[in-house]
Structures are given as structure tokens and as C-alpha cells.
């Protein structure tokens, strides 16, 4: 297999996995977050604790789960509990990272997973919050993975399913959400983004190899904070690519190729 070439989606998963830290806990959503979390566990964060909203804690995931509740989410786990069990652990502050996807995101990191278009006459119906709102409300640091497209990075969401920084600095606390929690990183196929400390607005951190800052700006539907220095993301190592392609998703369920 060729480990020199990689697809943008693979860069995205690798960049997301590197954000996760060893000896921390992470709430994992369906899809690319699962691959990124498992990849982190198999590389730099072997003691990363995986938590799934349906009750699985500490799984050693044998094959990619098709959802957050299938038997793979508590395979050789340290506990098979309940939804209240695990989400209450994040409500009391025990979960470090939340890891979500979303159809639309705005400059404050709010997410839409409910509908595209008007709620009462939607162009597309999406499955709703699921555990997304809980994870985004309660985890200390929430990471979002999504493809970087103008129709996804929008000025105004069609529906605020999951809270980011809501309307700006202090808005989460004002709304009643736990202090000190909230969006942390956004990882796309073009870049890694974070949030400006003062304004809580989305800020570019690094662009992936061969991607320009202008390209990121052009694919974002709102004004990004662009710092003076923007790094280039380290490309995936051949070991990261090998683990991802051969061990985690050999059938290409998530990373179709």
C-alpha cells in the first residue's frame, strides 16, 4: 500500500486523533470521531478512555462499530453501564473531551444536526441531537470534525442543535451551561481551527499540507480569525496511515476509497 499519498479525509482523521491526549477521557460519536479516537489509542494515547453515550466505558474496540450502541462499543470494556451512568459522569465533570460531527457549524462552534432549511418545511431532515447536545453541553473540551465547505460553515445555522459558545463570550454560562466547558477544536479536510480566547470566534490554527489560507477562507461562510502565523499541519505518518487503513477501517466503511 502507498503511504506517501493520502486523502484529505485521512489527514483530517489523523489531525483529529493527535488532539486527543493520553490518560484523558473522550466521549465518542458515530463516524470519523470513532476512527480518530481509536487511532489515538493505537498511537500516542494508549490510555485514552473511550466512552460511548449508550453506556460503554473503556472498550478495546475490535472492529468499527456501526453505531454508538452496538456490541463493539463495550467489547472488553471496563464497564457496560447505562446512558445516565456515562452522561452523568460528564455532568459531574469527569469527561475531558467530547468528539462530534455535524452538518452545519457557525463561528461560535454551534452545531446543526436537525434540519437543513426551515424546521417546519425542511429541505433535508437530519436525525436530531441524539447525544450531541449532551456531549457539547457538558464536556470540558469539544472537538468537531466536518468537511470544510461553505454550505457547512455558515453565518447562521438553520437550527441550533448543540451549543457551542452560543452568541459569544459568556453566553454559555448565561444560558446555564457548566462553566469552563465548550468548543475546543474544529478539524476539517483543509485545516485545524480553534477559538479566539477573547471573542470566542473560530480561529485558524494550521492548514493541511498543500492547502492555502485563502482556500480555507474561500470555503468558510463567515469571517474567520486569522492569526499572524498559521502553521502547516504535519502530514500523516506512514504508521498512522497503515493503522488507519489496515487495522481500523480495512473495509473503508468510513474512509471510502
Amino acid at each position: 500500500m502507498n503511504y506517501e499519498k493520502y486523502r484529505p479525509v485521512e489527514m483530517m482523521v489523523v489531525a483529529a486523533s493527535r488532539i486527543l491526549e493520553d490518560k484523558k477521557s473522550v466521549f465518542v460519536g458515530t463516524g470519523l470521531p470513532m476512527i480518530a479516537a481509536i487511532l489515538a489509542q493505537k498511537t500516542h494515547a494508549q490510555r485514552l478512555l473511550l466512552m460511548f453515550e449508550a453506556g460503554g466505558v473503556g472498550a478495546r474496540v475490535p472492529t468499527l462499530p456501526l453505531g454508538v450502541g452496538d456490541s463493539r462499543t463495550f467489547y472488553r470494556a471496563t464497564m457496560a453501564g447505562s446512558m445516565c451512568d456515562v452522561v452523568e459522569a460528564s455532568q459531574t465533570g469527569f469527561v475531558d473531551f467530547g468528539f462530534l460531527g455535524g452538518a452545519q457549524i457557525d463561528k461560535y462552534g454551534n452545531l446543526n444536526a436537525t434540519c437543513i432549511g426551515e424546521y417546519d418545511s425542511p429541505k433535508v431532515t437530519l436525525p436530531g441531537s441524539g447525544g450531541g447536545n449532551d456531549i457539547g453541553s457538558l464536556c470540558w473540551r469539544t472537538i468537531i470534525t466536518t468537511m470544510h465547505e461553505k454550505r457547512r460553515f455558515v453565518e447562521k445555522l438553520d437550527f441550533v442543535t448543540t451549543p457551542g459558545y452560543l452568541t459569544g463570550p459568556g453566553a454559555r454560562e448565561e444560558a446555564g451551561l457548566p462553566k469552563g466547558t465548550g468548543p475546543y477544536r474544529v478539524v476539517t479536510d483543509l485545516a485545524v481551527l480553534g477559538y479566539d480566547e477573547m471573542t470566542k470566534r473560530m480561529m485558524l490554527i494550521s492548514v493541511h499540507p498543500e492547502v492555502t489560507v485563502q482556500q480555507v477562507v474561500d470555503n468558510t461562510g463567515f469571517q474567520l480569525v486569522i492569526p499572524r502565523t498559521v502553521r502547516v499541519t504535519d502530514p500523516p505518518t506512514s504508521e498512522e496511515l497503515r493503522i488507519m487503513r489496515e487495522e481500523i477501517d480495512p473495509k473503508g466503511i468510513y474512509i471510502s476509497r
Binding site: 493505537k42 449508550a54 456490541s71 425542511p122
Partner: protein, 298 residues
């Protein structure tokens, strides 16, 4: 009691129903029987995947308290759900998954509502029946959600005794709360075991008999959903449904083949591929098939 009798007796037109879990450990024999008996105007708690889709496509559902509904996780979005929402055939009330789990917990505790710290500041909140209150002790803002006490909870378990003392191997999601909160509880079990084997390990009982109104043994009863420790998801049937359900004609053909065209759940199991298929799903679940990705095992 048979599935037919249990559904006939406890599920009424207009009942508020809850069926356990999502994508896994789903009481599918009951779902199909509800469709077969053409129940109407059901209120459904929490949502689901294929199970919810089948009920909506069959015109059984009037209203949905949604945590997750209208998709199949990795496998895609639901054409049925979209049609039903666009044509205003169902009414949807939004919640987060855990907000709904906490509603059941409040129901199980016998209290009218429960304070939580999610949903606030979002449109999910605005499209729910949650409210904001000030904590009388600390003054902080809290979200409160009303208790949910379904008319009927239907829960599939690994095993239980004839009285309904049930054991679940694996995550329980919100099923323990639902069993305690509901007026009626129907348990379907992969196996019915004798009372003595429950009494030998009483700490394994997660739903005690006094909550339970009916017990039916249904081997493979979660198919085509996953049953932890028993069999994996039947992706073929899921994909067939997703493809067929794009049109009303497809829905009709699918239901005629797998629901109306068979006498009962045993007939259904034959129609989906019989023992040969089921054994394959068991191999996948138990990671015995060389073709599955067993090398990933950590």
C-alpha cells in the same frame, strides 16, 4: 403469552410506547407485530433506527419524542422519516438522548420532573417541552424536563425467568429506567430460564418481575438489529430497507414480504435467510469469521 396476544392486550391505538435501546437489543418481534395488527396514532418515546422507521412507514406513529430519529447512524438518512415530516404525517418534539433518558429516570423515581444541565441555549430546547428554572438552593439556572411514564415499554433481554426477572448482558442504555417508569412492560427474551437460575445470581437481575406484565421467549428477537453476545447487525436487511423505503411502493413490497407475508416472527426469520444467515450473524458478533477485522483486537 404469545407476541400476538401481548401486543393485542397491551398496545392500544394511541398508546405511548417505548421500545428498548437503539441499533441493538431491539424488541423487533413486537415492532413487526404492532405493524401486523395495524396499530394507529402511537406516541413513540426517544426514537430509534430501523425499528422506528418501520413503524412510521406503516402509518402507526402520530407523534415522536425524538432523541435520535430519522437516520441509521453510519448507514445514512431515512427517506421514510423525511417523507413523514414533509407531509406532516408525524409530529416531532425534540430532546437530547440523555434528556430523554433523564425523563424516564424521573418517571422511574416517581417525581414529576428532573433538573438537568444540557439543552439550554439551543433550538433543541425551544422545540422541546423543557423549561428553565432557578435552583432554589444555589440560584443557578437549570433546565427541567418532565417525567416520562410510557403506557407500554417493550424490552428485549438476553434471558429472564417466567415471571419476568430479567438479565441483560451488556449496556442497558435507558431500558432499566424505562421498565420502572412504564405502566405496562412486555419483555421478550432470547431465552427463558428457570427461576432458580435467577435466584443463584440475583445481583444480575436488572428488571425485577413486579414491573413486568408479559414475558415472551423470542430467539433472534432483535434481528436485524444487533444483540450483544448473540448476533450482529444484519446489514443486508438494513440496506435493503433503506433502498426500498425510498418509494411508497418499495415500502409496501418490503412489508408484504417480511411482515404481512409471514405468519409470525419464526416465518420472518425464514424469510430473511433462515438459520444459515443467522449463524453468519452470530459468527460476526463473536468475531469468529476470519473475514471480519479481528486483527484490530487491542
Amino acid at each position: 403469552m404469545t407476541i400476538k396476544e401481548a401486543v393485542g392486550k397491551f398496545v392500544r391505538d394511541g398508546s405511548y410506547i417505548f421500545f428498548g435501546f437503539f441499533g441493538a437489543r431491539v424488541p423487533m418481534a413486537i415492532v413487526y407485530e404492532i405493524v401486523r395488527q395495524r396499530k394507529k396514532n402511537l406516541d413513540v418515546g426517544r426514537g430509534g433506527l430501523y425499528d422506528l422507521d418501520i413503524l412510521i412507514a406503516s402509518g402507526c406513529v402520530k407523534r415522536l419524542d425524538r432523541g435520535y430519529g430519522g437516520g441509521f447512524e453510519v448507514l445514512g438518512l431515512s427517506p421514510v422519516f423525511r417523507r413523514a415530516v414533509s407531509n406532516r404525517e408525524i409530529k416531532v418534539v425534540e430532546w437530547s438522548n440523555t434528556a430523554f433518558a433523564w425523563r424516564l429516570k424521573a418517571g422511574a423515581m416517581g417525581i414529576p420532573f428532573i433538573p438537568i444541565r444540557t439543552m439550554m441555549g439551543t433550538d433543541t430546547f425551544r422545540h422541546s417541552a423543557a423549561r428553565l428554572v432557578k435552583c432554589p438552593y444555589t440560584g443557578v439556572k437549570l433546565c427541567i424536563v418532565p417525567a416520562c411514564n410510557p403506557d407500554v415499554a417493550m424490552i428485549h433481554v438476553n434471558r429472564c425467568d417466567p415471571y419476568g426477572n430479567a438479565q441483560i448482558d451488556g449496556i442497558t442504555v435507558y431500558d432499566i429506567e424505562a421498565a420502572r417508569a412504564s405502566r405496562r412492560v412486555i419483555i421478550t427474551a432470547e431465552r427463558i430460564v428457570d427461576e432458580d437460575s435467577i435466584r443463584r445470581e440475583p445481583w444480575r437481575t436488572c428488571i425485577p418481575h413486579f414491573y413486568v406484565d408479559a414475558v415472551v421467549e423470542v430467539p433472534w428477537g432483535s434481528h436485524p438489529s444487533n444483540m450483544p453476545g448473540e448476533y450482529y447487525i444484519d446489514e443486508e436487511i438494513f440496506n435493503e430497507w433503506i433502498a426500498q423505503s425510498k418509494t411508497r411502493e418499495g415500502v409496501e413490497a418490503f412489508l408484504n414480504r417480511y411482515v404481512f407475508g409471514v405468519e409470525d416472527f419464526d416465518g420472518y426469520l425464514e424469510a430473511v435467510g433462515g438459520l444459515r444467515k443467522l449463524k453468519r450473524l452470530r459468527d460476526i458478533e463473536l468475531l469468529r469469521n476470519a473475514k471480519t477485522n479481528t486483527r484490530c483486537s487491542a
